[in-house]
């Protein structure tokens, strides 16, 4: 058996994939237990019980000050911002990417602009966004849009521009006009790539969301993490980080499944 050709079966792959997670969790518990045997009041590596207790207060009990269930309020606020930002970014990618990708004159006009915007670190624009849009929701959503849309536009436009020239010629000989080529040739073939670009943008989008919430917010997952940092509340921070990871994985999974279901032709023989 050679390593490069050894294909683990489905059950084994799940087992192998779970192994590092289990090892990591076990290592954490060992380290936490060791710290607690030295100092019962240790806050840096809280034991699972402490984390469960801290989270239960946030999940099941209303905050006496605001009357809100903080965990759910944070989740809702963050997901709303993320959803709005990614939604606007996806819609504008579809529109701009399609036009830039399929029409060479528009590509010559807008291509350099999109590239220029894409190379600016979005966080550097955050002060401008706060000045222009104020400290409310708009600035946070705008940061996500500006952070991920240029990358997505470049990716989708590049994919459309790289479609074989023969396809465009063929469509024209079938009686299409430019609009017809965009609608029936470029757009459907751009859709799976758009979802792929969205999946790749999930990571950066979370980064921009947490950054914006850390700087100016009164609710949100990122806000909570940075708020409780002042009290070294690792028993809240660690579950929150795990929760963010779970949300991100679920989003990725849904997008990947959705793409396979809707655009089977783009995923090999799996349809």
């Amino acid at each position: 058996m050679r390593w490069v050709t050894a294909q683990p079966g489905r059950g084994r792959a799940i087992l192998l994939g779970a192994l590092p997670l289990v090892v990591l969790a076990f290592a954490y518990i060992v380290a936490a237990a060791a710290r607690h045997s030295d100092n019962v009041a240790d806050k840096i590596l809280p034991l699972p019980g402490a984390m469960a207790a801290a989270m239960a207060a946030l999940i099941f009990e209303a905050d006496p000050l605001s009357g809100q269930y903080l965990f759910w309020a944070d989740t809702l606020a963050s997901l709303t911002r993320l959803g709005l930002g990614l939604g606007i970014a996806t819609a504008s990618t579809l529109l701009v990417g399609l036009v830039v990708g399929s029409l060479p004159p528009v590509r010559a006009t807008l291509g350099p602009l999109v590239t220029a915007i894409a190379v600016i670190p979005p966080i550097a624009l955050l002060p401008i966004l706060f000045i222009v849009f104020g400290l409310g929701e708009t600035a946070k959503v705008a940061l996500i849009v500006i952070g991920v849309a240029p990358f997505m536009i470049r990716d989708v436009a590049g994919h459309i521009a790289a479609l074989p020239r023969e396809q465009v010629i063929k469509a024209l000989t079938l009686g299409a006009n430019s609009w017809g080529v965009m609608l029936r040739v470029a757009l459907p073939q751009a859709m799976p790539r758009l979802i792929e670009a969205l999946r790749l943008s999930l990571g950066p989008a979370w980064v921009f969301l947490i950054s914006a919430e850390a700087i100016a917010a009164d609710v949100g997952l990122g806000y909570r993490i940075f708020l409780v940092r002042r009290y070294l509340a690792m028993d809240v921070i660690l579950p929150y980080v795990a929760w963010i990871a779970i949300l991100a994985v679920v989003m990725d999974f849904v997008l990947s499944r959705g793409s396979r279901r809707l655009f089977g032709w783009a995923h090999g023989a799996a349809h």
């Binding site: 396809q167 017809g180 609608l183 073939q189």
Partner: protein, 267 residues
């Protein structure tokens, strides 16, 4: 009158002359094969007729009217590859031509118009032997089936001229033979006018009613780009009479007139 007329056609890319002084009259119902060595401008000539490229000089007329330098539904095309759309099923690929012309804004058909179009598309698929594959995607089909689909897709527009750019070059010999039979049958049944670029000299002679050979008449060794290719042989084959012997005689015929041909695909 000739269906397609090329008058004193030149194609130049900057300094490089690709085609020079091409004058041709192509009659309706003919099957013209174009052969020639790599770089002799076979594909350039096809692209010019297709409207994908503008000739530097000269005029092209179709039915006596000058041909715009744009691709349109009067000229169908089948390329060696990428002729079908990977995101559409066999039926969807065939319907596409009908949908584009019927509704320029949505490029889709609904209700009774769609049912009529589906019936027409299915009849066309039947005639190329893809009736049972209508719900497959191109990626699920062999190269030969994809080319069958590409032909059906082009023919549903009833083009005045069908252009084939090495359509069978990427296929296995056995499949290629089936495709030769298919294109010959379709050519007869639909009364098509076909221009086919090929590397396969035997194919050129066995399918065509007329074989054109492109090559450079003159060659300047110090400036190979100075002279372009022209039609050096223009052979009318009395095909119907020789039909049976054409296959066997193709190679000898080619050798007799001393045509050199490359066997390596160039696209």
């Amino acid at each position: 009158m000739a269906l397609l007329s090329l008058k004193n056609l030149w194609v130049e890319y900057g300094e490089k002359v690709v085609l020079e002084r091409i004058s041709l009259d192509i009659a309706e119902g003919s099957f013209v094969s174009i052969i020639g060595p790599s770089g002799a401008g076979k594909s350039s000539l096809l692209r010019v007729v297709l409207g994908q490229e503008k000739p530097t000089r000269g005029t092209i007329t179709l039915d006596g009217a000058p041909l715009p330098a744009e691709c349109g539904p009067d000229r169908g095309v089948v390329f060696q590859r990428y002729s079908v759309f990977p995101h559409l099923t066999v039926l969807g690929n065939t319907l596409l031509g009908l949908e584009f012309s019927a509704s320029p804004f949505t490029a889709r058909l609904f209700g009774g118009a769609r049912r009529a179009a589906v019936a027409e598309a299915e009849a066309m698929l039947e005639s190329v032997g893809l009736a049972d594959s209508r719900h497959l995607y191109p990626a699920q089909m062999s190269g030969g089936m994809q080319q069958r689909l590409a032909i059906a897709q082009a023919l549903i527009k009833r083009p005045r001229i069908l252009l084939l750019d090495e359509p069978f070059g990427a296929l296995d010999p056995g499949i290629r033979k089936d495709m030769h039979a298919l294109i010959t049958r379709l050519w007869r049944e639909h009364g098509l006018t076909i221009i086919m670029v090929t590397h396969d000299i035997k194919e050129a002679f066995s399918l065509g009613t007329r074989v054109l050979t492109l090559d450079k008449r003159r060659h300047d060794p110090h400036a190979p780009q100075r002279y372009g290719a022209a039609v050096i042989y223009d052979l009318e084959l009395t095909r119907k009479a020789q039909q049976v012997h054409a296959d066997a005689g193709a190679d000898e015929q080619a050798e007799a007139i001393g045509i050199t041909i490359d066997t390596v695909g160039n696209n």
